[in-house]
């Protein structure tokens, strides 16, 4: 009897506790993002969460026209090149994507088809080759960039970012090639295809989804990267969005005043956040599977 009463009380209260924790988790996760989103549409945005009296698209327009904020709680503390930052980020993203796909797809294919001594070692070495934390690689990378003329050069940034993401992408694309049976290739040879024709007509189409995943992931790592541009880009018009946002907010860490144009900064970061969200939405099934493998992608 007592047990039954306990059960009728315990079950619903557990559910209630469950909902309370769920609510707290939601609040923790969403409050900053809600602030970001609302402030982007608020003509008088500030660091506090408030329901705007009117909704405006001015902030987004300012991002693209590069005008200084007139409304809001103050004017921007320094010149804004936001539309150029977006263009720079796009360029870095697409260049990273192109370089990564062009280099890692052949390498992944070769590693999938070739059998040689020390292949496992090579695969591990590829993954561990850049194991030094970015902090301490900064100076060598800077001087290397200087020697090769890659400082203040968006293509140089893309190459360095690509070199950081290629190891993971080789592992991913090799996994996709491993799943394409060799018999298909052999059949193509029997039917008179030569080697390269087999590659372009049979293997590449079959590896299409894998290539797409690699392309999008490498685009994202170029699009979102912060440290590499920090080392290699010094002139403000060449900043990607990540550096631009940091330069708006971090000039005086710990004492952000009201002199920040919150509205257009938030509009810029809403624009900044959209491509990754779209990509994750399209590829979520694939990404779950890859994450189950040995490596982690970011």
């Amino acid at each position: 009897m007592a047990k039954k009463i306990l059960k009728t009380i315990a079950e619903p209260s557990f559910t209630a506790i469950g909902y309370v924790i769920l609510f707290l988790l939601f609040a923790y996760t969403l409050t900053p993002l809600v602030w970001l989103f609302i402030t982007a549409f608020n003509p008088r945005g500030g660091p506090y969460l408030e329901i705007p009296k009117e909704i405006t698209l001015d902030n987004f327009i300012r991002v693209f026209t590069g005008e200084r904020g007139t409304g809001g709680t103050g004017t921007a503390a320094h010149p804004i090149y936001m539309s150029r930052w977006i263009a720079n980020s796009l360029f870095i993203g697409f260049a990273t994507m192109l370089i990564t796909v062009l280099l890692s797809a052949p390498a992944g294919y070769a590693l999938s088809r070739l059998e040689f001594k020390g292949k496992d070692f090579l695969m591990t070495a590829i993954l561990l080759i850049g194991f030094m934390p970015m902090t301490s690689k900064m100076l060598p990378l800077y001087r290397l960039g200087k020697i090769l003329g890659l400082i203040d050069n968006l293509l140089g940034v893309a190459i360095v970012i690509a070199s950081g993401t290629i190891p993971t992408q080789i592992w991913i694309i090799k996994g996709f090639f491993d799943h394409i049976p060799r018999e298909i290739e052999e059949q193509a040879w029997i039917c008179g295809c030569d080697y390269l024709a087999t590659l372009f007509r049979v293997v590449l189409p079959a590896a299409g989804p894998g290539l797409a995943v690699v392309a999008f992931l490498s685009f994202l790592s170029g699009w979102g990267n912060f440290t590499v541009p920090l080392i290699m880009i010094y002139s403000e018009p060449l900043y990607p969005i990540s550096l631009g946002l940091a330069s708006i907010f971090v000039h005086n860490p710990g004492e952000i005043g009201l002199a920040i144009d919150y509205g257009s900064a938030c509009a810029l970061s809403v624009i900044y956040a959209i491509p990754p969200m779209v990509v994750y939405y399209i590829f979520r099934e694939h990404l779950m599977k890859i994450r189950l493998g040995k490596i982690e992608i970011r």
Binding site: G18, P32, L33, I99, I129, P167
Partner: protein, 298 residues
């Protein structure tokens, strides 16, 4: 005879082509990953400084940087901060991730897709947005967090100074708990339902099912998650940097080890020393990665 030669040529041309496929990727990796890494290790054995005569006329001093690091009281202070930061982040990220995973996989709570999308949001938006959104949220006078605390009749906190370490941990956990969630969700959903059905037939208790079925099957993903989280936390100092700036706080409250390496190299200009600490971090990360690879393919 002729066909044998033809076959031999064909096989070797194929192998040669495949080897050539690997060259570009490996070249980029060697130039932009391996060389900076080795360069860093070399600097760590010298007394190179960022400014002054020692920038060019540095000399090889063997292990002295390492001996100095291990006898430096600030190094150990920073290690203690790192330990606090990493352990707190590890526990909180794991618990939040586990909670989120349980909500997504449980039958009781509705709206799994929406929940998953919400939980993933902070993880997929670019990292540059995290820091400054939270800089605004935690602002002492105008920040949203303190406003909420006041609205709930709780005393506002000085998030930017007195509770700085906790603030950084909170941001890190906010941005990263979805990683634990992803691994745990795929581990939990990959357990075949038949196992539970069979144990139901035999009348097994919930605790028995958890101990004998769930736990053994998610043991490897669990350990893998912990390793991944630790690896991410130890060499990423973006949030700590955003809240600290270029000089450490006098009591080193935010000085996690990666930030200490950065400050030593670029604020105190002791490049060799900073690189030595970087290499110590790298060795820690390296060992962790090797363990992770050994456990591999879950």
């Amino acid at each position: 005879m002729f066909s044998e030669i033809k076959n031999w040529v064909r096989v070797n041309v194929r192998n040669l082509t495949l080897t050539l496929f690997m060259i570009p990727a490996l070249a980029i990796l060697i130039i932009f990953q391996l060389i900076p890494t080795i360069w860093t290790i070399w600097i760590s054995f010298t007394d190179m400084a960022l400014i002054g005569k020692k920038f060019l006329n540095y000399s090889f001093i063997g292990l002295r940087n390492y001996i100095e690091a291990f006898s430096d009281s600030y190094f150990w202070l920073s290690m203690r901060v790192t330990l606090y930061y990493c352990l707190a982040s590890l526990v909180i990220r794991f618990m939040l991730g586990l909670a989120a995973a349980l909500y997504i996989t449980s039958k009781k709570f509705k709206g799994k897709r929406i929940m998953a999308a919400v939980f993933l949001l902070p993880y997929i938006i670019p990292g540059a947005i995290h820091s400054y959104v939270w800089l605004s949220m935690l602002e002492t006078d105008y920040g949203t967090v303190n406003r909420i605390l006041v609205a709930l009749n709780l005393p506002p906190q000085s998030w930017m100074y007195e509770r700085l370490t906790e603030s950084i941990i909170a941001i890190n956990c906010w941005a990263g708990y979805a990683l634990a969630m992803l691994v745990l969700v795929s581990a939990l959903t990959s357990i075949p339902k038949e196992y539970y059905e069979i144990s139901d037939i035999y009348g097994a208790s919930k605790w028995f099912k958890f101990r004998k079925i769930t736990l053994p099957l998610i043991k490897y993903p669990l350990i893998l998650t912990l390793i991944l989280i630790f690896k991410e936390d130890i060499d990423d100092f973006t949030y700590a940097y955003m809240f600290t700036g270029d000089t450490p706080y006098p009591d080193y409250r935010t000085e996690i080890i990666a930030l200490y390496a950065y400050h030593k190299a670029f604020s105190d200009f002791e490049l060799g020393f900073g690189c030595a600490i970087g290499f110590i971090i790298a060795i820690i990360v390296f060992i962790i990665t090797l363990i992770q690879l050994k456990m591999g393919g879950i």
